[in-house]
Symmetry: C2
Subunit: 354 residues, 2 copies
């Protein structure tokens, strides 16, 4: 697996410039890259802080001087409370997403134990139907409970994971407009109840393709933009040339003229379902698809069902469907500039236990 | 993630006894567990050797004294040739699958460089349509090319990956019978051409559920049987009580009464597609399904669409759909006996570079 340094740098700089030009704060999500090198670079380029998907990712960042972290995940129970306490005790400014009274109780426990300020955003559901409260009454109830518990209620957060490549461009634009409208409504309704959000935090790389429509958000949390992938390109949020991470794979078998096998399977590319009929984008041969994956095999076929034209030993580069799960399979990847390997990139946060 | 030692031991002993009782040689596939501890135990219980899916898995096994290895993967080109040479030079008895003249050339190069015996099995396609030659003429041509190149042709190998939980029991039984008939035909046809196979090697845990039907094979290469998983159980090759590996997960959010979110997603369970409508089997609550996975979230719903009845903080155990890809996500797992944690199990071969 390779990552192109130049493309990464261009992606990071472009997003930082675009987001700040619109006055949004940028909180990049590190789960995509899980690398300290890029986390540092994102901070250098003006990120206000970094988002993590779990406390295991926060530990290494905190130990390496990144001291403003948003744990965008509901923390509940004694284990997360203990880990969160350690972060707070190490003077990390921590912000946490919350969508239940059990989540408030966890933060309350840490706030009492540490006597340090902890900030929370109430997660609201804008249509993805994963986490997030469904009504403004519930959001207000959580804001109130947070405040009572000595936790700083700062606003609301959402992730529009339903806005994907599966929609047409018109549908996607409409969905982004709808999310903005919802966030504005949540803000108004909370303000009316005395819980005006200071922060309105919107997640995802796909919405950043429609930056001019994100008028309700005060901050953005794209993750995938650092590397991009097939799903991001097909959602209109990047070009193929912006894809910075791919797998170099070799043809190992050509059993029939219409079926070719390469040495990249689900243990290399990740097993996320097909995007536009393929388990990855074949850069040099968009006329072919990765029709199926075994653990160590990818089966290549032509879109038209005909000959693949490939020979044993041929090399192909595969842009993954979902780069975040692919990166998580690798301890380190080759860092390249163009066709030259310039080093190795550690996936530091992968498998971190805290 | 936890692995139950007692269940593992029972699974290993039962398969060893059943396979040897029928006179088959056993070559367990280590890709499922990737752990030196279990590889050793499989050898102690009478395995003739171990199968690996790639040379990266072979290196650590060889360095720890396991000296009979079957690389069941087509090796082509200079990189694999160099790695194979290292194994042969370390006095490892290596057997390799081959299904092309390019594969023969790779083995020929190693045989010439090392002057050591290398054994090959010609891979034949019995219906999975991944690797493997399609005709006896081609198999005979490869046997001839191997012999000319100084590589020992030993027989044929196959993997019936199409025989899965997706078939009914009757269909699965018919598919196993068909594979046996094909292997017998391949053997007869090759014998008639002077290439009688000494070894007929059949892969997969699912066929071992029909051991009495595997009369054409001389050896079996199950992998998943050590842990089993949802797909294995639904294919009739194991019971739920034989599933030795699962994830303990916690409910982190209950946004609506019919939707619950747990802290196990595709970075924990692997993203292999749904099996019988769920991304994993919920041991304590088979009335519920894992309806979808994000990277760190699993969304739980009731099969009947009603209330899940779960509260934040509840614990559930999830048997994965495909244990091989799940194990590959973890550097180490908790080893338990019943409900007691007795240690840690390293996934030694995960991420091995050689």
């Amino acid at each position: 697996m390779v990552v192109d340094w130049g493309i990464v740098e261009a992606n990071l700089e472009r997003m930082a410039a675009r987001v700040s030009a619109r006055g949004h704060a940028l909180w990049p999500h590190v789960k995509t890259h899980k690398s300290l090198r890029w986390a540092r670079r994102q901070m250098e380029l003006g990120a206000r802080g970094l988002m993590v998907a779990k406390l295991e990712e926060a530990g290494p960042l905190a130990r390496h001087g990144m001291d403003a972290l948003y744990v965008g995940y509901p923390l509940v129970g004694p284990g997360p409370a203990r880990r969160l306490e350690q972060l707070v005790a190490a003077d990390i400014r921590v912000r946490v997403a919350v969508d239940s009274l059990a989540g408030v109780a966890c933060l309350a426990q840490v706030a009492q134990a540490t006597r340090a300020p902890i900030t929370a955003l109430v997660e609201v559901d804008t249509g993805f139907h994963r986490c997030g409260v469904a009504t403004v009454e519930e959001a207000a109830r959580l804001a109130d409970a947070l405040t009572t518990a000595g936790v700083l209620y700062q606003g609301i957060t959402c992730f529009g994971g339903h806005i994907t490549w599966r929609l047409s461009d018109d549908e996607r634009r409409a969905a982004v407009v709808a999310e903005t409208r919802q966030l504005a409504q949540w803000s108004d309704d909370l303000r009316a109840r005395g819980w005006a959000p200071e922060v309105v935090s919107q997640g995802g790389t796909v919405p950043t393709g429609y930056l001019e429509l994100l008028s309700a958000a005060t901050e953005l949390r794209p993750g995938t933009y650092i590397y991009n992938d097939t799903a991001t390109v097909l959602a209109g949020a990047a070009e193929w040339a912006d894809c910075a991470a791919w797998v170099w794979t070799t043809v190992v078998s050509t059993p029939t003229s219409d079926r070719t096998v390469v040495d990249a399977g689900s243990k290399t590319l990740a097993g996320d379902g097909p995007v536009a009929g393929s388990f990855g984008h074949l850069r040099e041969r968009p006329d072919l698809v990765v029709a199926s994956l075994s653990e160590e095999h990818g089966v290549i076929r032509a879109r038209d069902g005909g000959r693949t034209g490939l020979q044993v030993g041929d090399r192909l580069s595969v842009v993954p469907n979902h780069v975040c799960t692919m990166i998580n399979l690798h301890d380190a990847v080759h860092l390249v500039e163009g066709r030259r390997v310039v080093g190795s990139l550690a996936v530091d946060l992968r498998g971190a236990v805290h």
